[in-house]
């Protein structure tokens, strides 16, 4: 025997389920332009049926259905695409930040513009060539000094901006790290919420998970963390095997400032050989260095934006110590060596043309034109003759100007060649960083597109669903109305 009012209950369940499905559709449409949102679907299930006892048999034909209910509201998400996208994110972050900052470094050198080192250096040699092709007039001597001062200004500027850029990158690393710590804290908090909600198996913390996924995407661009999900839907994050987020707990990454040194040999007395006995010295650079710790464990960051920044900082050290300061030291050595072998306008032996300031640093930023020469350009040792009447002997100036084409002054090549090779190397490095960035961008873009394919809201789809659920609702209401009519006949019609 069927129950009298069972049909009304079935109708009610139908109405409620279609209504809930319409709610979810509404939620989808509302979030259509939320880029972190994954579309949701209502999974409908039939409520448990039962078997009717019968008068004649053990049971009637059946089982009898009891209607419908919402079993689950599901989030449409492909976790495999997420995993790949996050992996590609590491490299995208690394190369794109590397490219941006290398371009900044290139702008400091500005070789193609008129403010490059090669341009200043050429002007400097030219002024010596002009003096060496003149009758030794004061105007040409003054031009040499002016161009030498312009050259040292340029050197100071490049040195200073290079060091400044490195410091700025340091602050940027600190900023990125603070962001990482902030993200891991937020993720741990969300972990707690999600696991609490999902401890009830019928509940899905869909929107919170979307939020957490967005944070994970951001995090993977900055550092190369690996992510795993446990059976309580918590995201556990580790960096190089050291846990950053474990369940509800986040561990902060700390910066430990250390230092690194680079030692070079400086030919102090400009005799073009390194000989400590004659007064030459080793010079040691000290640069700050970042290392990272979680608790008491050291961690290394091998990819992502922070790695990119660390790489550019190392690149700047290498560029400064082994290229820039090196070429400047060699120019000083070669020019001084020749200058001291000549005689000035008054027949006195030449003095140092370039000197380092009193700071004791043998770096490009400390190179000066000898103030005695600036005060009196006649002290430029242009001559190879000690006779003060020999005013038009400018052989030595000519010899100094020929340093620019002298092969083997630095790394077996000319100054210009050496420096342009460095500039070319930097250019090629930027080109390859750019290519890597584009590759990664395409990859990440493709994966995001794939993610959208699964998770994105399609308006057309939602509208068709809407019509479907609306019609379902209408039909359920009709069933209810029929039940009502039936009961009306039964209750009011019989009496």
């Amino acid at each position: 025997m069927r129950s009298t009012f069972g049909g009304i209950e079935i109708g009610k369940r139908g109405l409620m389920t279609q209504q809930r499905a319409l709610d979810v559709t509404g939620h989808n449409v509302a979030n259509a332009n939320n880029k972190n949102y994954s579309r949701q679907r209502v999974i409908q299930s039939a409520t448990p049926p039962y078997t009717m006892p019968s008068i004649t048999n053990g049971s009637e034909a059946g089982q009898v259905g009891t209607g419908v209910y919402v079993r689950q509201i599901m989030r449409m998400r492909d976790l495999f695409i997420d995993k790949r996208l996050r992996y590609e994110n590491h490299a995208l972050g690394e190369w794109s930040i590397k490219k941006d900052n290398l371009i900044e470094l290139e702008a400091i050198f500005n070789e193609l513009g008129s403010g490059g080192l090669t341009a200043s250096l050429n002007k400097f040699w030219d002024s010596f060539a002009d003096l060496g092709n003149s009758e030794g007039e004061l105007a040409y001597r003054q031009a040499v000094i002016n161009n030498a001062l312009a050259l040292t200004d340029q050197l100071h500027y490049i040195d200073q901006t290079m060091v400044e850029l490195r410091d700025n990158l340091g602050s940027e690393i600190e900023g990125k790290l603070a962001k990482v710590n902030d993200l891991t804290q937020q993720i741990a908090d969300l972990n707690k919420l999600i696991s609490t909600i999902e401890s009830d198996v019928s509940k899905q913390a869909n929107d919170l998970k979307d939020e957490r996924d967005a944070l994970l995407d951001q995090l993977t661009k900055i550092v190369d963390v690996s992510i795993s999900f446990d059976d309580r839907s918590r995201a556990n994050i580790s960096l190089n095997g050291i846990g950053l987020v474990q369940g509800d707990m986040a561990h902060q990454i700390r910066i430990e400032m250390g230092s690194q040194t680079r030692t070079v040999e400086v030919d102090v007395n400009d005799d073009l050989t390194y000989d400590p006995i004659s007064g030459d010295q080793e010079y040691t650079y000290i640069f700050d260095q970042y290392s990272f710790k979680v608790g008491n464990n050291s961690v290394e960051i091998n990819s992502g934006e922070i790695r990119g920044l660390l790489d550019v900082r190392d690149e700047i050290i290498d560029l400064k110590v082994n290229r820039f300061d090196q070429i400047v030291r060699t120019i000083k050595n070669e020019v001084n060596n020749l200058h001291k072998s000549g005689y000035d306008k008054n027949g006195n032996t030449g003095i140092d043309f370039f000197i380092y300031d009193s700071s004791g640093n043998y770096e490009a930023g400390n190179l000066l034109v000898n103030p005695a020469l600036v005060a009196d350009p006649n002290q430029i040792a242009a001559s190879t003759s000690s006779d003060p009447d020999d005013v038009s002997n400018v052989e030595n100036a000519l010899a100094i100007s020929r340093l620019r084409t002298k092969a083997g002054t630095i790394s077996s090549t000319t100054f210009e060649d050496f420096w342009l090779t460095q500039a070319g190397k930097l250019g090629l490095e930027i080109e390859s960083a750019e290519r890597m960035e584009v590759n990664q961008e395409v990859m990440v873009w493709q994966l995001s597109l794939k993610r959208q394919e699964v998770s994105g809201v399609s308006m057309d789809e939602e509208f068709s669903e809407m019509i479907k659920f609306q019609q379902g609702y209408n039909a359920a209401a009709k069933v209810l109305a029929k039940m009502d009519q039936m009961l009306d006949t039964l209750i009011n019609g019989i009496i």
Partner: protein
């Protein structure tokens, strides 16, 4: 079948839009400065090549300048030497006249006076200047080489010591050309002393001595003409250098233009076709993004 939704269409559209805009801005940058690159990293190898070519062209220009300066020096020297020869020819005429037997003592003294005047003029020529530099004192350009005395000793005419080091101009890598001649090569001091001797012979009426002086003068003229020929050949050499440098400049500039310059017609065509593509993408985007199912539901 791929599931397509609005977000994907928009993502696709934006990506294409970005790429097209990037290409357009690249063409625009090329068209505004007519160069393929404005940072080395735009095209590293070509940029470095063009920088090196730039240096070669600057070198070329500076060598041309130096060679032109050298030509001025040599022209002035040549002119001074021509004056010397012209003056010596006059002296020779006077000597021929003085060697004539019938001349009286008085007439010979008069000729001697004229020779003395010409000798002073020659000393002035020996102290000739260009741009406030003495031509014939080597690198001691601010020291007067000769002094005006009356002496039969060549050394007496020299102010201190003559510099025999010549002025030079660098007109190529390690190629120098001498642009002055030394007073010593010309033999000015000997010439002055010889002329003084001639004056003495004229005054002392020694026709044999006067005749001998004629030979000496001829030898001097011959020597100076030889020096002048040397000046002329250096002059020619510098002119050849200039010709070569300007030919080089044309070819280097051409290579530079090929290395860093753009083909304007090609770039404009590329820009135009990119623009057409861009317009098409915009039109398609506008059509495809707008309609949804809702437009057709009542």
């Amino acid at each position: 079948m791929t599931r397509i939704n609005n977000n994907m269409i928009i993502m696709n559209f934006l990506e294409n839009h970005k790429r097209s805009k990037n290409r357009q801005s690249e063409y625009l940058a090329q068209l505004t400065n007519f160069k393929k690159f404005d940072q080395i990293s735009d095209s590293s190898l070509e940029a470095i090549k063009s920088l090196k070519l730039g240096t070669v062209i600057t070198f070329n220009d500076s060598y041309t300048e130096k060679a032109e300066d050298g030509i001025s020096w040599l022209s002035v020297t040549d002119q001074a030497l021509s004056d010397v020869v012209k003056t010596l020819r006059k002296v020779r005429d006077l000597t021929v006249q003085g060697a004539n037997d019938p001349l009286s003592q008085e007439e010979r003294e008069k000729i001697a006076g004229q020779v003395a005047e010409l000798r002073k003029h020659l000393i002035d020529l020996g102290n000739a200047k260009y741009a406030d530099n003495y031509l014939f004192n080597g690198t001691k350009t601010k020291t007067e080489p000769y002094i005006e005395v009356n002496s039969a000793l060549p050394a007496d005419y020299i102010n201190g010591t003559l510099s025999t080091e010549l002025l030079k101009r660098e007109v190529g890598e390690n190629i120098t050309v001498e642009i002055s001649v030394s007073g010593q090569t010309i033999g000015f001091s000997q010439l002055f002393a010889d002329l003084y001797n001639l004056e003495t012979e004229l005054i002392s009426n020694n026709t044999a001595g006067i005749g001998a002086a004629l030979t000496t003068i001829d030898q001097h003229v011959e020597n100076i003409l030889g020096v002048q020929a040397g000046v002329g050949s250096n002059h020619n050499r510098l002119e050849l250098v200039i010709d070569r440098l300007s030919a080089n400049k044309i070819s280097y500039t051409e290579i530079l233009a090929k290395t860093e310059g753009i083909d304007v017609a090609e770039t404009i065509t590329n820009l135009k076709s990119e623009e057409a593509l861009y317009r098409a993408a915009l039109a398609v985007g506008a059509r495809i993004m707008q309609p949804t199912l809702i437009d057709f539901l009542n």
